[in-house]
Symmetry: D2
Subunit: 132 residues, 4 copies
Amino acid sequence: MISFDHRIKVYYRDVDQMGIVYNTRYLEYFEESRTELLKSIGLSVTKIEEAGIRLPVVTSYCKYYNGANFEQELIVNSTIKTIPKAKLIVDYKINCADNLSLLVDGYTEHAFVNSKNKPLKAPKLILEKLNL
Amino acid sequence: MISFDHRIKVYYRDVDQMGIVYNTRYLEYFEESRTELLKSIGLSVTKIEEAGIRLPVVTSYCKYYNGANFEQELIVNSTIKTIPKAKLIVDYKINCADNLSLLVDGYTEHAFVNSKNKPLKAPKLILEKLNL
Amino acid sequence: MISFDHRIKVYYRDVDQMGIVYNTRYLEYFEESRTELLKSIGLSVTKIEEAGIRLPVVTSYCKYYNGANFEQELIVNSTIKTIPKAKLIVDYKINCADNLSLLVDGYTEHAFVNSKNKPLKAPKLILEKLNL
Amino acid sequence: MISFDHRIKVYYRDVDQMGIVYNTRYLEYFEESRTELLKSIGLSVTKIEEAGIRLPVVTSYCKYYNGANFEQELIVNSTIKTIPKAKLIVDYKINCADNLSLLVDGYTEHAFVNSKNKPLKAPKLILEKLNL
């Protein structure tokens, strides 16, 4: 299992007229955290793409327990639990940095495709960094 | 069953460096379509909120089959199949306007809460418009 | 002078906790209107890019008089007044569709560059459609 | 003069199909940096709003010299040079964290209004923190 805690802060651009983060922005926080998780094990998404591999999202799931507010600090945890075959699965939990209460959780599934959008098996480049 | 087809167009702001719509924007298209579905049965979200009722997203799920491109026209279908009790469930399908191929589908679940975020039963205001 | 009125509607995703459209979204509405202005004279931005020409924004200016609200319909007017040499200048006005009151105005300037980001003179492809 | 350097990183959500940050996202980076500038002198925007004061953007201006890329780190400098009377003016510069080359600069002007959108003079709450 590989896991990473990434700290973010909520800004005005992400908060809707209910005074809470708009539902899709948490999925943007997922992306930010996932990028940092991969970087933490030596996998820059830029370098993955330069090697001709793309990781488009094929499924996203998100459960919203409580809304985050403007200027709140959040910990976005992302975790890879299984060695990917055809798909990479990343799980997320977003907690208040303050009191650690759970706000949101969910997951994304990613295919491996080449630049012509043809499916690939899990590339060696990625597998060799995932010592699960 | 209540169903609505809403036509949208992809602009530059929504397209990422893979040349396809960024994954979270489809969920924004879901919101746009849902707002128009509700309006089509006489339910303005603004009036629902003025009546003290909010419909926060509590679950979102999205499956991505193919990416939409810049300047492509899409049909975002939203459907309500069941009479809500504690939650409103809306299903979505996004197809190319052109060749009708399926790009994305998914659903959102919405709670009913008052302005203090207390859960409500499905409000009469909404139920009486949902002649399913 | 070439001018185009494009109608848009404000959705939840664009409204902040002041209950008005977040300042940068109007610039996204500018883009949407500009794309439709160009299309109205037979210039698809997709085709411009396929011809190896890009139109990055090099200056943006926006003045905000009044905030637009959720579910409000807006008319986004965009206008090209001058034949471009090194830059294309587009002016915008955003008015309420309802009472025609002015909410926002501004402009964007665009360079012409090739795919390697080298500046170009105003391309023939564009000039021949701009019968100002 | 009050000045603050805020470091941010470019994620996939902000990059368009030219492979550079979409023009409006820099203005979101401006907001993020401005929020941190104010916090650095003891002015939380949340607390300003709780005191009944809002700071809507009334003008934005942005000049784009070079595009930022995915996973690039940026320094977003924001500066307040003058004591505000009717308006707060904030200047910005966005540089590569790496080689310090200038990518974008610009400014925003903010009105002071109460919760009913009535203009206010520069509030004491803000002036007393701005020891320019």
